[in-house]
């Protein structure tokens, strides 16, 4: 009998009175001391499964056994007592409180009626020394870097005595250097006798560090491999249920003249600190210019500055010779810049608007009005219907609320809408974030088609594989500066990794 630390049998979780089935008869067995990866598309049900384990959700049916004994995990407090701890993708840290306050939250030591902050600080120091993860107990969370914040998250669950640690997309927000450090921490934890489950959608990462892989698709566990027998193709096929293409055919195109020029651009972030420091580059017609870099390197601010949503402190930005620095978003759009924003829910569309109204959003004054006063509803209906047919977007009705579509379909609509605008440059920020593998192919195809019509394309992405797949030239940003620009043929993951960490080639 294998030494299982965790056995989840026939787990079932439904919401809304049975209408939504998030987990459908999933069985998961974790060996003590292993690193087990859970892979699956967005909405497949992996987060739900882990939340059941962590006590945030109660299962509709199924059993959980820890070290052979059946366990009833009534809440997060219970889960912690049973030795289960989760490091969330979006950290569960209160930004305005200190490290010590976050650590003791829920298990606060008291001295009479008061909070015993002295003891809290001591506790932090003890745990931090035991696992060799240095941290300042009085630091305020919002002042710490992402890598350090994650360390606090890990210490938090170790403090509560976690033996089974669950990591949800742990490297999504880390630079390569921090990723290597995290892998080391994970190895140390295994040596200390811990067991690790981690959710990841990065197939290479899964192959690199896991011992065992479980694939979840549409709420069911569909495959389980020992990592030594697994390949990227096998995993991806199991995730989607059909063979998947990893690289998209790039059309052969002669690259034309420079049409976009950015020179010595300086932009500040929301805290008033410099986020973009004297950035310069140019993009030619028919070229896909990739901007790589971990989130927080200044790319968001760069794109906001170019699209008129953020003030440019100094520097120039010209498109086809026209200086667009300091102009309004509307002016820039009319000048020929289309934009697929990185956060489609916040920036690209109104979730409550119907699909039909979403097509008009941003172009309503140009395309869907006869006299600038009335909305041309008929034209809107016709075009919306046409789009949905052409790009195979379901469900078909144009009156459905935009927010009700799947992530992939939402993004397809946004991308299609932007491409329909009269433009010479399109900036696509994190274009396939939260999009299923099936739709990723379609979106990449749409982007590459732009080359044929001589458009300039700027793709900003934290997904290295996406950048390598699409770009003709790659710029890497770190700490607000461009640390290097490479031709695709000269670019390797290693080189880009060095540049992302701020090093030089």
């Amino acid at each position: 009998m294998t030494n299982y630390i965790l056995e989840m049998k026939n787990m079932r979780k439904t919401f809304l009175g049975g209408k939504v089935v998030a987990n459908d008869d999933i069985t998961l067995n974790i060996v003590k001391g292993e690193k087990h990866a859970i892979v699956g598309e967005n909405g497949a049900g992996k987060s739900t499964l882990m939340k059941i384990l962590n006590g945030l959700y109660t299962p509709t049916s199924g059993t959980i056994s820890l070290n052979g004994e059946v366990a009833d995990i009534k809440g997060p407090g219970e889960a912690a007592k049973l030795g289960i701890g989760m490091v969330y993708q979006h950290f569960m840290l209160v930004p305005t409180l200190t490290v010590a306050e976050n650590m003791i939250l829920g298990v606060e030591p008291t001295k009479g009626m008061n909070l015993d902050i002295k003891k809290a600080r001591e506790d932090v120091r003890k745990v931090s020394e035991k696992y060799g993860l240095a941290i300042d107990p009085d630091a305020i969370i919002s002042d710490l870097s992402v890598g350090i914040q994650q360390r606090v998250e890990i210490l938090k669950i170790l403090f509560k005595g976690a033996n089974l640690l669950i990591f949800d997309e742990p490297t999504a927000v880390l630079i390569p250097q921090e990723v290597k450090e995290l892998y080391k921490i994970m190895d140390n934890l295994i040596e200390e006798g811990k067991t690790i489950i981690f959710i990841s959608h990065k197939l290479q990462e899964v192959l690199d560090i896991s011992d065992n892989i479980t694939v979840i698709r549409r709420g069911k566990d569909v495959a389980n491999f020992e990592t030594k027998d697994a390949t990227k193709q096998k995993i991806a096929n199991a995730m989607v249920g059909r063979p998947v293409l990893f690289t998209t055919e790039k059309p052969e195109v002669t690259i034309g003249d420079k049409i976009v020029e950015v020179k010595d651009l300086e932009v500040k972030n929301n805290k008033g600190l410099p986020a973009v420091k004297k950035v310069s580059f140019d993009i030619r017609a028919g070229e896909v210019f990739g901007v790589a870099g971990v989130e927080g390197s200044g790319q968001s601010e760069l794109v906001e500055a170019m699209t008129g949503l953020r003030k440019i402190e100094s520097g120039a930005f010209t498109l086809n010779g026209e200086n667009l620095a300091g102009k309004t978003p509307r002016h820039i759009t009319l000048a020929g810049l289309a934009h697929v924003p990185e956060d489609r829910h916040a920036r690209a569309a109104v979730s409550e608007f119907s699909v039909r109204d979403t097509f008009a959003f941003g172009v309503h004054r140009e395309k869907f009005t006869k006299n600038k006063i009335l909305l041309d509803v008929d034209k809107l209906e016709r075009e919306a219907d046409f789009f949905m047919e052409a790009h195979d977007i379901r469900p078909r009705g144009t009156k459905t609320a935009f927010g009700k579509l799947s992530g992939g379909n939402q993004q397809k609509i946004i991308v299609a809408r932007e491409l329909e605008k009269k433009h010479d440059l399109i900036i696509a920020s994190q274009p396939t974030r939260g999009v299923d593998i099936g739709a990723i192919e379609a979106i990449h195809k749409l982007i590459l088609e732009e080359k044929k019509t001589g458009k300039a394309v700027m793709v900003v992405s934290a997904e290295l594989s996406e950048i390598l797949n699409l770009s003709d030239r790659i710029a890497v940003m770190c700490g607000g500066e461009i640390t290097g620009i490479l031709d695709r043929k000269d670019a390797t993951e290693e080189k880009i990794g060095i540049l992302m960490a701020g090093g030089k080639l």
């Binding site: 919401f15 962590n54 945030l56 809440g75 997060p76 407090g77 912690a80 989760m86 969330y88 979006h90 950290f91 569960m92 840290l93 209160v94 930004p95 305005t96 409180l97 306050e101 976050n102 939250l105 829920g106 298990v107 606060e108 008291t110 009626m113 008061n114 909070l115």
Partner: protein, 292 residues
């Protein structure tokens, strides 16, 4: 010199109802629930305190009555906003409208009056100020200790800033919010009780006169901290006190313009705080763990 002293005392007096209501609002908002209904809770508190004082002949029982009335209104707001995840501003506005109507209706039913109750027993005074004023300032100072030095205070702040994080460490987010909202009602009710049986000895129609809203402004101006709220309330109290003084001494200016001063001051204060005042992050958003 004596004008100076009477001005200070008047400021402390006038600030009291705004202060305690604002502290109440702070309890609610720190946990993430917006409470626009403070005005209504204050009004119900004023009315109930007067009525209970009338029927029991004891103003101190009246104080409790006032606080309870505010608490009950707050419970209603809590159920609508927390349990049923309704729109918190609409709920608050509904409570204000209800309180206006209810107090006027009961005035007629109980006393057959349309403007005010008959005189009721009021509380004892020291230095010309009702004992309630002293209670109010003690509570205000104690709230600083409560928010920053106790377990409850820490949990309240955590729930307000990141309710999901608090949930994942086993804190009952809903319970903490109920606590915050009900406290806001109890304290606003106390503020109202001061108006009817502390400062005067009767309830008059609409006697809260917008103080519940000025308290909200004091909360924003004071950046949701007890110290800030104290300062802001004293400022508004000063405007109120100063206004009566100015009317006595300044002739030639129509009194209505002077009466406008506290409200104009509030507007200017709000305009000036811009960008620097950040409400608790989850303010106004109902908590739903499946939103993560």
């Amino acid at each position: 010199m004596s004008i100076f002293i009477s001005l200070i005392l008047a400021t402390i007096r006038q600030a009291a109802p705004i202060l305690i209501t604002a502290i109440g609002g702070m309890f609610s908002e720190l946990t993430g629930v917006v409470n626009i209904g403070l005005e209504g809770m204050m009004l119900m508190g004023a009315f109930s305190a007067a009525v209970v004082s009338y029927y029991t002949g004891n103003p101190y029982v009246g104080i409790l009555g006032g606080m309870m009335a505010g608490g009950i209104m707050a419970l209603l707001h809590a159920i609508l906003s927390i349990k049923y995840k309704g729109n918190q501003v609409v709920s608050g506005v509904a409570i204000n409208l209800f309180a206006s109507g209810f107090t006027v209706f009961m005035l007629r039913v109980l006393f057959n009056q349309s403007g005010n109750t008959p005189t009721v027993p009021k509380t004892a005074t020291f230095f010309g100020m009702s004992i309630i004023v002293f209670i109010i300032y003690i509570i205000a100072f104690a709230s600083h200790w409560f928010i920053y030095k106790t377990v409850w205070g820490l949990r309240m702040r955590a729930v307000g800033e990141h309710p999901l994080a608090a949930d994942t460490v086993g804190i009952n987010v809903l319970k903490v919010r109920y606590f915050g909202v009900i406290m806001s009602g109890l304290l606003a009710g106390l503020g109202g009780a001061y108006l009817s049986i502390g400062a005067l000895s009767q309830f008059t129609k609409e006697m809260s006169a917008g103080r519940g809203f000025i308290a909200l402004a004091a909360l924003v101006f004071g950046k949701w901290t007890p110290g800030g709220v104290l300062g802001a309330s004293l400022l508004f109290g000063f405007a109120d006190a100063g206004q009566t003084l100015i009317q006595q001494y300044v002739t030639g200016v129509p009194p209505q313009f002077i009466q406008m001063l506290p409200y104009i001051l509030t507007l200017l204060a709000l305009a000036g705080v811009v960008g620097k005042a950040v409400a608790p992050a989850s303010s106004g958003k109902p908590y739903d763990k499946s939103d993560s």
